[in-house]
């Protein structure tokens, strides 16, 4: 592994830059893509570098512009479309789900739609009910889509590069709170597979299966658990469709216990799929009831006073993990950093409005 460190958003920027350089058919499009803030830095300067025909801004027409991207993809282009919020992409579900996901199949393999759609999951600073939805379960429910949620800069770059080279439509969900986190990122082209989970921490007592930002919380939870003598294994799903049941199964076979943590809602969510798939296929391995950590069935409130109660984190994961061991130790919440009243930002550098 390299010791070159990049932030998550820088890794996405680098991958996009490389992809645009790698193949002249790669296109980058989205509201504000060429703009001065460049989608939180991930597309900044790329129009200047790769040209105004290949890196384009677009009208706020999420539905048709997705169809436009699909049409370009059917003619050999490899568009990357970006949505600043998952909530906006809800307007583009028809072309994604009825069309792009099905075209290869419904035309008997004659059509290919190599389409990459990046969607950012909002959180914090009062994003509220319409700027913080985390709808990966919807996409994972639909055959014909590959759905990935990189948690580390290495995957943010490598999976985007793999997605651009894949001929299937790939949905990449990026959690806003991962953007400033740093990690090792090799330079140059490399592809991180779109399938396959990663064991980020080995353990023997309980499996913490998480995706996206919840991987960060799961790693924190594993630390806490280690402090009370519990050895937790952390599995970063990386891809939510398909799920890597081999890795999950092997981990649960070892630990016998499962906590599934997702950034979305529990009901018919990714955490439900994990628990269901493990219960179906690894039932004999399970020593205790599996648990889900996910958003409560409540729209996301805006005021920090309620948002702080809304989002589960490391503490809730640790409590659930202990429960699978029949323990109910009190787990204190990590104290608020000096001078901060709320937990509604990932770090003090994040001062809104976005």
């Amino acid at each position: 592994m390299t010791d070159r460190q990049l932030k998550y958003f820088q890794a996405i920027h680098e991958a996009t830059d490389l992809a645009l350089g790698w193949d002249g058919d790669v296109l980058l499009m989205g509201l504000g893509v060429p703009g001065p803030t460049g989608i939180f830095g991930t597309t900044k300067g790329l129009q200047e570098k790769h040209g105004a025909t290949r890196v384009i801004d677009m009208p706020s027409s999420e539905n048709a512009m997705t169809g436009v991207a699909l049409g370009a993809a059917t003619r050999g282009k490899r568009p990357i479309m970006v949505h600043m919020r998952v909530d906006f992409a809800v307007l583009s579900l028809e072309p994604i789900v009825n069309q792009a996901a099905k075209w290869h199949y419904m035309y008997g393999g004659r059509m290919r739609a190599p389409l990459v759609i990046r969607m950012i999951i909002g959180r914090g600073w009062g994003q509220g009910p319409q700027h913080s939805q985390s709808l990966q379960a919807w996409f994972a429910h639909v055959p014909g889509l590959k759905v990935v949620m990189p948690s580390r800069p290495y995957d943010a770059k490598g999976m985007l590069l793999a997605a651009v080279q894949d001929d299937a439509p790939v949905i990449i969900l990026e959690h806003r709170w991962l953007y400033n986190l740093e990690g090792p990122v090799p330079d140059g082209m490399y592809a991180a597979p779109l399938e396959g989970a990663a064991v980020l921490r080995e353990g023997t007592d309980v499996t913490l299966a998480a995706c996206s930002y919840m991987v960060i919380e799961a790693m924190r939870a594993a630390e806490t658990l280690a402090g009370v003598g519990v050895s937790a294994e952390v599995v970063d799903l990386r891809s939510v469709a398909p799920l890597d049941m081999a890795t999950l199964g092997a981990s649960v076979a070892k630990t016998g216990r499962l906590v599934a943590a997702d950034t979305g809602h529990a009901e018919c969510g990714v955490s439900a799929e994990i628990v269901a798939a493990v219960s179906e296929r690894c039932f004999a391995s399970l020593k205790a009831a599996p648990r889900r950590i996910a958003l409560p069935p409540i729209p996301s409130p805006t005021t920090p006073a309620l948002a702080d109660l809304y989002y589960p984190g490391a503490r809730e994961i640790a409590v659930a993990a202990l429960a699978t061991l029949g323990r109910d130790d009190h787990v204190p919440d990590d104290p608020l950093p000096e001078g901060r009243q709320w937990r509604d930002t990932p770090d003090p550098s994040f001062t809104g409005p976005y």
Binding site: S61, L70, A72, A73, Q99, Y107, M111, G144
Partner: protein, 346 residues
């Protein structure tokens, strides 16, 4: 504007899109007529045999709609692209796509143009530049615009002709797609086949009293309303629109007013449903686009009875062969169910 209910109500109107002026005559006229006749006969045959219950998929016949596909596609080169909707048979055939593959597709056979996985609502023939049809209203419109975008990015001289109905213009994505085609000055021809109905719903409850073509200028492109049962009128409007696209002057919108003869979906007539009167239907049948073209050809001399008889014979032989091919073809193998979910790496 008065609503169009009968052929006589139609007033052709230009919103910046002027007809080419070139008369439709000679070989060009004969070809357009032959294509219309062919589409008519294919649809009639499907209608006859549908009740055998071997074509087990929703099927929308375009009898009455023959002029727009034939007259528009007459201007298209094989490298040009066509995108279509649920009522796609005419568009598919006029673009030169394979009849055998279409009939086999309706029969759900492995030899179908989509391996049987698509049916009548999902036709495709890439070799012919028929890029696909899909039944979700207006959904292929933006896709066609995207294909035109790719062509313009690559500097390929390629036109996207996109067919849709009047109902599709009520979908927001149609407006979004028109807007982007204009913003990017793309080589697109939007063809609206306005047959006055969306399933059984008439215009009054769906759109304000203005021609669909009025949307063209509002979206930054020229448009016109033409008599969609007059092959020459459609042909002249399309001539200008295709030329503009090729010349890099951007998109155009053509509203072709026409009429559907059969039920919305399925093989039968539907006067029994009562949503349209026998009288209204009669007026439109009297305005038969195929018959009008035949009469024009006979009087202008680019058609004669022998030529027509010869065409009829050729066409019916072609149709016989296509149905035989379909019926003799195997159904897809069990293994086909799980193939083509994801594209294999190339």
């Amino acid at each position: 504007m008065n609503r169009i209910r009968r052929p006589a109500d139609l007033q052709p109107q230009e919103f910046g899109l002027v007809p080419s002026g070139t008369p439709l005559s000679g070989a060009a006229a004969t070809d357009v007529f032959r294509q219309m006749l062919r589409i008519r006969r294919v649809e009639e045959r499907i209608g006859e045999r549908y009740s055998e219950q071997q074509m087990r998929c929703p099927t929308h016949l375009c009898i009455g709609h023959e002029a727009p596909p034939a007259a528009v596609c007459a201007h298209l080169r094989s490298k040009d692209l066509v995108f279509s909707n649920h009522r796609s048979h005419g568009h598919y055939l006029a673009k030169g796509a394979d009849l055998g593959g279409m009939i086999a597709e309706l029969y759900g056979r492995a030899t179908g143009c989509a391996d049987g996985k698509g049916g009548s609502q999902h036709l495709i023939d890439l070799d012919a530049g028929f890029m696909g049809s899909a039944p979700i209203l207006a959904s292929t419109i933006s896709v066609g615009v995207g294909a035109a975008w790719a062509a313009s990015l690559d500097g390929r001289d390629e036109v996207s002709a996109i067919f849709f109905g009047d109902g599709a213009t009520e979908e927001g994505t149609f407006h979004e797609a028109m807007n982007y085609a204009a913003v990017a000055t793309l080589p697109v021809v939007f063809i609206c086949e306005n047959n006055l109905y969306s399933v059984h719903s008439e215009m009054d409850i769906r759109q304000p009293p203005r021609p669909v073509a009025a949307l063209g200028p509002a979206h930054g492109m020229p448009a016109s309303v033409v008599d969609g049962n007059d092959a020459e009128a459609v042909w002249q409007a399309a001539g200008t629109a295709v030329a503009r696209a090729i010349a890099g002057e951007g998109p155009s919108l053509i509203e072709c007013v026409t009429y559907r003869w059969r039920e919305h979906c399925g093989p039968n007539e539907d006067l029994n449903l009562g949503y349209r009167s026998k009288d209204e239907f009669g007026d439109w049948q009297a305005d038969d686009p195929v018959e009008r073209s035949r009469r024009a050809g006979l009087s202008a001399g680019w058609l004669d009875a022998n030529a027509i008889a010869f065409m009829e014979a050729e066409i019916s032989a072609e149709i016989d062969a296509a149905f035989d091919h379909a019926i003799q073809s195997p159904f897809p193998e069990t293994g086909e169910l799980a193939t083509h979910i994801f594209p294999a790496a190339q």
